[in-house]
Every structure is written in structure tokens, then in C-alpha cells.
Symmetry: D2
């Protein structure tokens, strides 16, 4: 299997974290799956991803003290493999695991994903739980010095032990049996994660052995640009940022990260700008609210994610989305930019503005996005020559038809330059053909 | 002018540094130009570049103490612009500058390049020498805290002063008048160079104003991957390494650098692996010798530079090249890899071996290079599946014709895998069509 | 209790680590205590310290894989307090703890010390074992992200929880009941130890509450000079180096560390150069051997430790000491330097030599130590003026009686300078009165 | 000469910088010297120090652009030694140098100091000016890569050249001839100053050769604690902070620095908290104003500097001092703390308060200073036991007479504890005898 074939376009879907934190239930997942199937599937949205601690008993019950309760029970099989907490995922009882829920999602014509933490459960190591296919136990492959600084569930494994690869193989075998299509592996994509370099490779090796095309997504970021080749070799997505939330500073900062990673987007390889905090979010964080992003900021976010080629993962509770949000995420012309992910290039960036272009070579259409990063409305100008011949041989404004994709008026053209008045934190993006 | 059009393929040429250090003379340059025109031009070699301190009096005369004599006289015009030392460049006398030498090179059908240091001469600042087009002086734009740690000639300029851009404009105006085709700007491409970020942009702006297509090459490296977009926006080449010499450790290390920069090669944009220390080198360093690289290492170097897409700049004294060296640098099949620079991709790299592939999409040919980085002969295997579909849709070995480009036997194919015995530090590269 | 009164001179004793690693038994301890009482007590040697993992079952039984076996059983009481493994310490059975062994040592006229790791046992946290005086458990105060990178036994505690102080109080209460005189707390004295700053304070607070004068020694080092005041406020000794072994490079490097810490030696405050690897060592490391230090190096070590004011802790198995070693560690004149620890000052240090002086103000005697740090015999000169008036008002050579403390000839004096031929890696130290 | 004898107590004086920046004139110096002689000498104030750029023509004339005008003329002799600008120092004309001004100061019973920059004038190097006692020139010892990032006047020297020591010798010879008592050498006491380690030693060697007792003060700081022994070996004072101004954040931060350096104060060795920004300051900075410190903060500053043992250098223009300021700097009981500089020790420090004690062993008096570092009035408590026996054997409150040195009421004593209500940012200090 060619891992680049697992996801030929940037994956689009929904992830439970931004709204449900560690508390998501089977009913919550189904509700969102139903909504996606009914309203979003036609636009390309397809992944339903259950995020962190689906295996943890009483997850979220001491939220004032801990996001992740330490030393708590987890649901686990005899091979040190975590299973869904049957309290929250009733269909998982009797060892069924996520198979029933995955079936449900698949029947809707969607794909099913889960979150995992790098490593093996600490509980398994301390209790010397077994491993599939060997009489060694979790204690033999767990590395007690290899911990995650923000989550207490796992020990990193010892890559040099053959049983460590066997353990990852056993995980992917189980996930393949369940029908999992997407793995978001956490604590594996940042400076501080010891042994993560090896574990990325081991995970892909386990996926290949499983025989199922499972998209591999790495978290939490920021990913290291020095490891770019390694990510491209073994994974499909990698977070280029720490957790992203509805804060303009973080959104503005994403332009810097997209500049850095723009040459690393290609089929099967997607630097990941993280979930879209749209609609109502943060409910289980004790901070439920409608996204703090203004409408202009939301359009800026969608435009950047799409012209750059990031995966699109919804963070909010979808059933409550209002009309504006639905329009935002079902704008076919914006989403079309994902069809040629990797073609987008930054033309300019400073503290006040950013300009990106992209190219649909099949339809011979150029796209130019003018972002206003300043706090005031601002005229942004793009001249034909700035993009450069090599970037866009065909970028000539005269004699072209132009359309603003969010429904604004077409821009003014004067002497080979395109001029637009863009609102604060906003964007205008033109299709030029 | 589109700077990406200045050099549509990685520049190929000769540079005086590796052999002549600071001592190169007009006669030396002509001798090498004559040789290139007679023997190498047909293979694509065309640039003749005069490297560091062509303006410095008595350069190289105190080599036991200093590579660059501090506080020494320089040849300079009334606008703080350095001129060739007429002792070493007699045709430059009476203010002719490099015009006569450039003419000579052009008449041979070649192109002419010079080295400059970022900034303005310290001598000009301390003597308050004028600037073209303003009554401010060098003292007004020189920044006394902005120095190069390894060369004493210049002060960096103050980017915020408009006269600084005027100074760079005046330089490029003069170089355009001389007929310069290539500028290697030094002390501008590394972590420690203060204000370099701005000066890169200012140099390209000055080139654009000059009206002449002058290739802009940045030195000394290692360039910063975080600045990749900035280099691609304003320059044509940037060194991804500090000075490269004939030492296996440096050559082996280049594989790491090429991994890092492989996604940043495109028309007009060339991460630069530095000069090729071939033939006799280091003469004026007091250390004249034939290259220490073995023949295998030389083939490894040429293959890597070409499949990666680095510029090729000869470092040795060309007239003395032996037959092996001439064959090495006139292998049309190897040089052909440069025609699709940017297509090369690393498939594997570890301490013992590296594998790269590239694609000539016009001729539907795949190239696979198997490098032995270990110190012993070694069988290297490449399976069809390792390259990945997205990388190389067409990489199927069976039914293909194969040719080793350095003249070795074609490789053995077994069950979808290509196997080759590669000598220590050596390479085998196959054209598969 | 004034913690500076717990040890008015640098502690002198024996520590089980260098010879026994994690395997020391009651019989081993007694054998060494017997020897010390018989042969060394009169010279000031008095502490008998049981080092790491006296609580660990099967400690040392998988030495090829692990120094510290992860996820292994430990002996522990119902309050999460570790107890001696009764297999190795039979007298500890039935909850007697170290009381019987401490009694044995005390009866010999010696003092008894133990090693602990910062924090609370991981086993206690994962099994929710109780704490003395509260119904909270170990899981409530253990911080799963607060681990030691080289030992898997403990989790660091959460300093902000009142039960954490209660836990440390309960430890010191137990140790006081046992009759412990000396605690060597590990994983607490280095850059990487999270929360260690607070735990140092908490340990001293627990000692004060225990009502017993227990010397507090911090490990592993290198201690941070920025924390010097904090150590002096709350501890008695702190390691200024990582583990020290019988390697000249480490010994030479100790001169640099002593330079840095020399102003921080005073009554009750001893920067610690670590154990003396003398005699036979490293037995349980699978590397048993007589110290690699030459006789000259051993004298250098003893002289530096004493003139600087470091604690003296024997690392080797004492019963086998030969005559040279016994003479080395029972040289009363050298040991006398410890009586005015803190008076020593470095006069000079370079790559080839170091000179220290110290002052016995009661007896109006100056000591001058000339260390040869080079690899060849060397004449070292000390002039009266170099020491400086403020350092040594009385340091005048003429008219003084001089004696070399290791039994060498008195030095030559010429024109206010003292001259000595010192062997490679050796020392000569003069008492001048 | 023993450099520790040059200043047996922390130097007290006035420095021109805080008020005059680079513009100070002979008249200004005399006016302040007259004032000191008349009003402050009896209290121990004695140094009059001319700070930076007394040699620079037109210093301060382009203050909107530059603090230090680059590439400007300087007054210099034929041996590359800077001389006072005769425009600002008329008595210096005809090569008299600072001799006449030093005489003036000496006649007042005061001492005379000057500021220098590490290195040799750039102008001397670029013009190949001579050196005393050799036919080498400034160009031979100046290191063009060894520059100060904030001042353009000098190049650092090459320590390995014997002429470099000769140059420093020639400087100190000249200063000794002038009658200089104090050298503040700048750009020599911080992480970034290349070759500074050697130059500190070379300066002291030059002072020793000069035969004059010249106090050596190092700037700008923060000094490196790792170099403490080196400073103590070769200098008398070293700045433990970057420039200190009248800002509470800087003053609060000084407590942290004093904690770090408290063990390094002894006769002839003074970690330096920098000038006291009292009275009117910053005039020549274009920002003339009365100190921003409140009266409480001024008392806090004076108390900390004195109990710690810092030199005291007045920064403001003395003739305009008001009664409060005069009382502040002539409080004999506070200044008396300097008589036993080095005895002071921090007892406690946290974000809200700091406590220091010191001891006059001759008079058997203990001093206890209670600093309120918080922004609100606060009761601060000191118990007898907290200071520790070793620190203060005699610190018993009962039966002692107590006096608050700034004139406040004596503190309340209860059960072995001293309690005081201290105003925000303020201090109370008690003499206990």
C-alpha cells in the first residue's frame, strides 16, 4: 500500500475534542455523524474522529483539578490494548470495541477515526499485562522515563525491543478489525517527544501490515521542519501548531507557519493547521461559547486552510451550526482549492497583509487571496509582476474574468494591478480565468 | 524582470576561491575562461566568477597571519564603491572596472560573475566617502556594530536609511554597466548576520532597478530553513552549508542538508551545495593539492549535486584537469538531471546508505541513485514499492531498460527489487525507461 | 534546630554505592561499620550510609538490562513509605525498618545514613496507597509528569498540595524513629529536576519537625550555582558534580568546580565533590577493580577535597584497603584542613597547574597546595605576593618552618618564592608556620 | 601591590553618566567635586569619576540619532592613547591630559577616576597610529571582529600579541602620571565580550606595573557568576547588572542579584549594583527629571546597597540635592554597614519580602533589614531562629536594645520574633545590641 494514496486530498471531517474534550459519548458521535451525512457529505466532509481518552473511566469527572485524571482506571484487553469505555460507548461492550460505531459511521457513507496516545498504558506496565504474540509483558517494552508532560496515560515504548513493534502491530490489527480509517496519534510530533521519531516509522509499518488504508495524523505540534522528510515518508498529516483556538493572535500566527510549510504539501502529505473552532465549542472545558472569531476572521481561516492545503477538521458541535457557518463550510469554490492542494504559494507577508496565489492547472484558473492582517480596513494591491513568471506564468489581469469567491464585488484592476479594500482581519479571494 | 527567469537551470561555472583564495588575477581568470570555452561550454558550463577581495591591495601577502588583512587599502571610487585592484586586474585601470574582463568572458560565449561582501567598506565609513545621488556619506549608512566575524572589509548598512538602498542601487548600476551576470553576496546567509534579511531584499530591488538580469547567489551558509520563502522570493541560490572542502565527513553530511532542502528546488531557486573541490585546489591557501576525494567520492558528489539540483561551480584550476575529472564533469547523462532540477526526492537515508530518485517527465524516465555512505562495499536494494506511487507512479522495474550512468553494469532485478553492489562511499545511478 | 549545627565540619564516612550499587546487604553494611569503628573512627570517619534502592526487591538481579528494574515490587508500608527489603536486611522484618541496623551502627560510635529518591513511589500512586494523617492517597500528591530520567521508582510530588508536606513529614518522622542521622536525597540537585526547588525546602521543614538533627545531602549534581543561597538555607551538602569515578579527566575537572564553589563553604554548608573511589570499587557494577587512580592522583584528590572543604565519603569496600590507602585516609595533617573548611582559596588555575592556600587562624599556620594538572613532572612556583594580602596577610616564607604533609622534602625558597618539583597529576602541600 | 588593598571598603563617589551622559565638562566635574568636598567628604564619599567619551569630539551633538556618534574624531596621542577633548576639558590642552583636573580633585581631598572602553580606538587602527615602545601600530593589535555592540569607538585587542599588553601598560602608565585613582573599564563584564576574560587580567597586570594603586571597576554587567573567581583575582568591582535606573522593577530585581553574589563580597572585592539614580538625573539624555523613586524606594535602595556591600556611586547632579536626599546619603548608621561589607546575608526572599542581616563583630551588633517588596503595606516578621546559629550566633532579641536606623520606631518583639509594619516598597532596618 502506498500511504500517499490513503488520502489524495486533505482530509475533511469532524473531531470531538474542541467541544467534548474527554467526555464524548457514542450518542454524541452518532448525532454528529448523522448531521454530517445529511448536510455536509456532498461537499466532501467525511471523517468522524473520536478524540482523546475514549478508554478512560470517569473521564472529565474531576475537570476542576485535571483535564486527564492520573492513576485512574482504563478499559483494556489482555494484550495491553485500550478499549472504549463501555459506560460512554455502550456498543463497545463484550469486547466489540469500536466495530459497531465504525459500522454505523460507514453505513452513513462516512469514515471513522480515533485518537491514540503514543506508547503503552502505564497501568499495563505496572500490572505486567501481556502482549499479543509474545510472553513478554507491557513492563518489558514500556520506558518509565519516556512520558508525556501533559497526559498521564502512557509510557513511551522502547523502540529497540522487537516486542514494541509487535505491540504497535497488534494495535493496528485491532483497529483494522474495527474498521478504523484514520488514526490521530498524539504526543508524537514535537521537539520534546523522546523516541517519537522511531514511533512514527513503527506506526506506518504497523499500518502497512494491517492491510487497511488508515490515514496517519500526528499531533500535537508544532512539528519540526527538520523532520519534514520523515513525516512525508511515514505519515499523512502533521500538526504545524500547538492546539489552535478561536483567538486572532493564533490565526495571524498561522500565516507564519503556512509560509514555512508551504513547500511540503502534496498528495498524501498535509501539514495540519488543526481543527476549525467554529460554531459552539469548549462545552466540556467548562467554557462553552460560540466561536470568538468574527465573520471576517472565519472567512480568513477557511481561505487560508484551503489555499494552503491543510486538512479541515470541524471542532464545533455541528448540529447547532447557523446559516453563516453552514455557508462558510459548504462554499464549493473555496473547497475546490483543496483539489489542487500543494499549488498554493505565499506571494507576500508582513505585519499588515499576506497574499497567496494558487493554480487550478486543469481549468487554467488562478486564485489570488488578499488577507488583511491589520486591525483596520486596508487597500491591498497585487501587481501582475509580483507573483513571478515561474509561479504563475498565466497571471495576467487584463482580459480576464474575475470573481470574488465569498460573494464580494470583483476587484478593481488598474495598470496591471488588482486593488481591493479588505476589512480588518478579513480576506478577499479572486478566481481569475 | 522575473528573478526566477535569470537562471532556469542550476548555474554551472567556475569560481576562483578554492584555488586562488584572495589572490586571483586577470590572467588567471582568462586562463580558466579560455579553458571553459574550449572544453566545457558545450556541456553547459558557462559562469566565470571572481571571488573574494578583488578590490584589496596586497591581498594574500600576509597569508601566515591573515586570510584577509585588516585595515589595509582598497581600490574604491568616490561613491564608496569598490573597484578591481589594478595591480591584479590591469584592464581595470582608469576606472574601467570589470568591464574589459567581462567583455573578454562574454566574447568567449560565457557569463561573468563577481563576489561581494554585504555592506559598505569600513574604509569608506571612517573616511566619510560619498554616495551616488545624495550628499550623505558612507558614515551615515554604515552601522559600526554590524560586522562580519571572519572578514574585516565592510560594515553592514542600516536598512532603515533610504541612502542604504541608494547605495545598493549604485552598486548594481555599476555592475550592470560592467556587464556582470552573477553576484555572489557573502556574509548574508547565516544565523549570525544582522540585517541580512533586509539586505537580501534590497539587493534584489537594486538588481530589478539595474535592468540587467543578474543571478543573485547568497553565502556563506548554512542558510536557515526558516527563511526559505524569503530566499525563494528574492534570490536565486543560497548556500545550505558552510564552506565545503574535499573531506568525506562534509560530503556525507551534505546528504542531511539535501534531505532538508529538497522541497525548495525549483526553476530560479537553487539551494547550493557549494563549489566542487575537484582537480588541484587550495594553492593560495598554502596547501595546494589534488582533491582528497577518491574517484568514488567524486562520482557520489557529482551525482548528489545533480539529482538534488544544486548549482555546479568548479573549485579547482581547470586547465590542469586530468581525464578522469574531465569525464566526471562532462557526463551528459548525469548533467541531464539538472534539466529537471526539483524533481529529485530522497527515498531513504540512514547512516549506511541513501537512495534518491528523480523523474524526467518528458522522456518518461526514472532515475534511481543508490549511495553507499558506509566505509565498506555494500549491497543496496530498492524495491518498487518503497518509492511510493505518488513519488513515482511509473517506477516499475520489470520490462524496463536500465542503464548505469557512470558506466557500470546494469543492476540485478529480482521480485520487484533492484539490487546493486556499491563500493564504499560510492554510488550507482540507473536510468530506467 | 539550626541546620548549620548538624554538621559543623564536612561529614566523613562511607557510602555503599561505589562498590555495591543497588545490592548492598545488612551484612555488608555491618562489615564496613565494624572496620570503620576499629580503624578509622579515631580519625573522624563516622557516617555509614546505605545508598540507593534498599527497598527494591530483586535489586541488581537484571544488571545486564537495567541498573534499576522498572515496574518491580518494593517494600512499602501502608502510608506509602518505603521500607528496607527484608531479604537483604533481615533485621528490618516485621516493620522494624532500619532501627536495628541504626542501633548497631550507633553502638559502634558511628552515625547512620540512608539514601532516598525525591518523591513518592510510583507503585503507591498507581495502587492508591494511603498517607499518614490524611485520607488522601499517594495518587493525590504524585505528579505523573514529574519523573526522574534515570530511575523509575518515584513520581515527584505536587508541592502545592498540603498532603505533600505531610508525606515528607511522615518520612522524616519514621527516619527519626529509626535513628537516621543522614539523608542523601537524590534526583533533587540538578537543572532538570522539576519541583526540586520546593522539595529541598520541604525536606528541611520535615527534618525540623522530626526533632532529630539529620544531615541533609543533595544529589546528583551538578548543583546550580544560581541556587547556592537556597542550598545554604535548607541543606548541608550538595553535589557539585555528576557521579565521580576514578578517571583523571573527572578529577582534573573538579578543580574547575571547586573554583566556582569555593566561596560557598562554611560551617554546615558543604559543596560536595562526591565519593572517593578508593580501594576496590564497582564490584556490583560488573566491573570490580582496584581504583584506576595512581598514587599521585589519590593524593591530589584527598588534598583537593580537604583544602576545599568537601565532605569525604569513602566509595570502596573498606575491609580490603591496603596500607597506602589507609595512610592516605588517616593523614591527620591533611584531615586537619577540614577543621577550618571554608578558609581555602584558589590562588591560580590554568590547564597545567592549580594552587590553593588555606589558613588555620588558631595556629597561625598557612597551607599552600601546589597541584600539577599536566601530564609531566613540572616545577611549580608560588610567590608571596601572588596570594594577596587580604587572602593571607601572614604568608611570608622567610623565617618560617615548612613541612610537606605527604612526607616529601620541604620546598626550596628563593627570593620570596616557593618552588617545588611536582610529579604529573600530583601535589605537594606545605604547612607554613 | 595587593589589589585588595586598593579599596578596603566599597568605594563611594560620584559618576558623571546618569546626569551628563557623554557631555560632561571640566566645569561640571569641578562643581560636583566642590560640592562633595564641602558636604559629603566627611561621610566617606571621595571618588569623582568622569564617565564615557571624554575623548570624543562633538560628543552628544547628535543625540536624536546617536548616543555615541560613529566614525567621529577623537583626541588621541601618537601612541593610540585617547586624551581628553580640550573643548570640554580646557586644562587638558597641550598634552596635559587629566593631570590638572586630577590635581584639582586631589587638592580637595578627593580621588579621581575615569571611564575607559576595552580595546584600542578604531580610528587608531584604521590610521595605523603607533604604540609606545614598539614599531608595531594599532593595526597590529586591533581585532576587527572584536567590537562592542553598543559603542563604536574601539576594537578589542588581540590578547595573544605581546604588543597588546604593552598598549595596556602604556595606558596605565599615562593614567598613573595623570594621578588617576580609579578606572571604570566598560564592555568587559558580560557574556558577549570576546577576549574580555584576558583583558581583565591584562589591565591588572598593567596597573601593577604602573606602580599606582588604581581601583579597577568592570562594566557593564551583568557579570557572570562563573567568572567570580577571575574578577576577585584581578578586579575590585564588577557590575552585577546592566545599567540601573530609577525603576522599581529594576530595584526589585536587584534583590535577586544580591542573593546570587552575597558570598563574593570581601575587602577589595565588590559586586557592584551600579550608580544611585538620586536627585536630578538624565539631563543630557534629553529626559531630565527628579528621580522616579519614591522616598521609601530610595531608602530601600540605600539599605540594600549598604547591607550587601555594593560600591556607592552617586548618579545625580549633587549640587541640587534636596534635604531628603542629603539625609539619605549621609546617614552614618546606614553607611556604617559598609565598614563590614561582606558580613551581610540574605535570610529570606520571596515575591513579597526580603530579609537581610549583617554583623558588626567589633561592636557585637546585629543588623536586620526587613524589605517590603510588595505593592502594599505589610507586616514582616523575623524570628530569632530563622537566621540560624551559624549566621548569627548572637541574634537574640530579648534584652537587647533596638533602633530603627531611618528614624522609625523600634519594632515590636513577641515570643522571639520581631514584627514590623513596613510600607510598600519600603524597608525598616534595626540595629540590635
Amino acid at each position: 500500500m502506498d500511504k500517499n494514496g490513503f488520502a489524495k486530498k486533505p482530509p475533511m471531517g469532524w473531531n470531538s475534542y474542541d467541544y467534548y474534550d474527554t467526555t464524548v459519548t457514542e450518542a454524541d458521535v452518532k448525532r454528529n455523524a448523522d448531521f454530517m451525512a445529511a448536510h455536509l457529505k456532498d461537499f466532501g466532509w467525511e471523517y468522524i474522529v473520536v478524540d482523546i481518552e475514549w478508554y478512560a473511566k470517569r473521564a472529565g469527572s474531576r475537570r476542576d483539578e485535571y483535564q486527564y485524571i492520573p492513576f485512574e482506571e482504563v478499559e483494556m484487553d489482555e494484550y495491553s490494548r485500550l478499549l472504549p469505555d463501555p459506560e460512554r460507548f455502550p456498543s463497545a461492550k463484550d469486547g466489540a470495541g469500536f466495530r459497531p460505531l465504525a459500522d454505523y459511521v460507514h453505513e452513513k457513507g462516512l469514515k471513522f477515526g480515533i485518537h491514540i496516545m503514543r506508547g503503552i498504558p502505564r497501568n499495563a506496565a505496572h500490572s505486567h499485562v501481556g502482549l499479543l504474540g509474545t510472553d513478554k509483558t507491557a513492563a518489558d517494552i514500556a520506558d518509565p522515563a519516556n512520558t508525556c508532560f501533559w497526559n498521564p496515560d502512557m509510557y513511551g515504548i522502547r523502540p529497540e525491543k522487537p516486542e514494541s513493534q509487535m505491540y504497535y502491530d497488534s494495535l493496528m490489527k485491532l483497529y483494522a478489525e474495527w474498521g478504523v480509517d484514520f488514526i490521530k496519534c498524539d504526543d508524537i510530533c514535537r521537539e520534546d517527544a523522546r523516541s517519537a521519531h522511531d514511533e512514527i516509522r513503527m506506526l506506518q509499518e504497523a499500518i502497512q501490515k494491517s492491510g487497511r488504508e488508515i490515514v496517519l495524523s500526528l499531533s500535537p505540534g508544532p512539528a519540526r521542519i527538520e523532520e519534514a522528510w520523515h513525516y512525508e515518508k511515514y505519515a499523512n498529516m502533521w500538526r504545524i501548531t500547538d492546539d489552535f483556538w478561536d483567538d486572532w493572535k493564533l490565526l495571524k500566527n498561522m500565516f507564519e507557519r503556512c509560509e514555512l510549510w508551504q513547500n511540503h504539501v502534496s498528495a498524501g502529505n498535509y501539514p495540519d493547521c488543526d481543527m476549525l473552532p467554529l460554531g459552539r465549542i469548549a462545552e466540556a472545558f467548562g467554557n462553552g461559547h460560540e466561536t470568538n472569531f468574527t465573520k471576517e476572521e472565519q472567512k480568513t481561516m477557511m481561505t487560508l486552510w484551503c489555499i494552503f492545503g491543510s486538512p479541515l477538521m470541524m471542532g464545533g458541535e455541528m448540529p447547532g451550526f447557523d446559516e453563516f457557518t453552514m455557508d462558510l463550510i459548504t462554499n464549493r469554490e473555496i473547497l475546490h482549492l483543496q483539489d489542487f492542494a500543494g499549488a498554493g504559494r505565499q506571494v507576500r507577508r508582513n505585519d499588515n497583509e499576506a497574499v497567496w496565489v494558487s493554480f487550478d492547472r486543469e481549468k487554467d484558473t488562478v486564485y489570488a487571496a488578499l488577507f488583511n492582517l491589520s486591525d483596520e480596513s486596508r487597500e491591498i494591491i497585487l501587481s501582475e509582476t509580483e507573483t513571478g513568471e515561474s509561479l504563475a506564468r498565466s497571471i495576467r489581469f487584463s482580459g480576464k474574468s474575475m470573481k470574488e469567491l465569498w460573494g464580494e464585488a470583483a476587484p478593481e484592476i488598474k495598470e496591471g494591478s488588482l486593488m481591493a479594500e479588505v476589512p480588518a482581519h478579513g480576506v478577499q479571494i479572486y478566481g481569475i480565468m
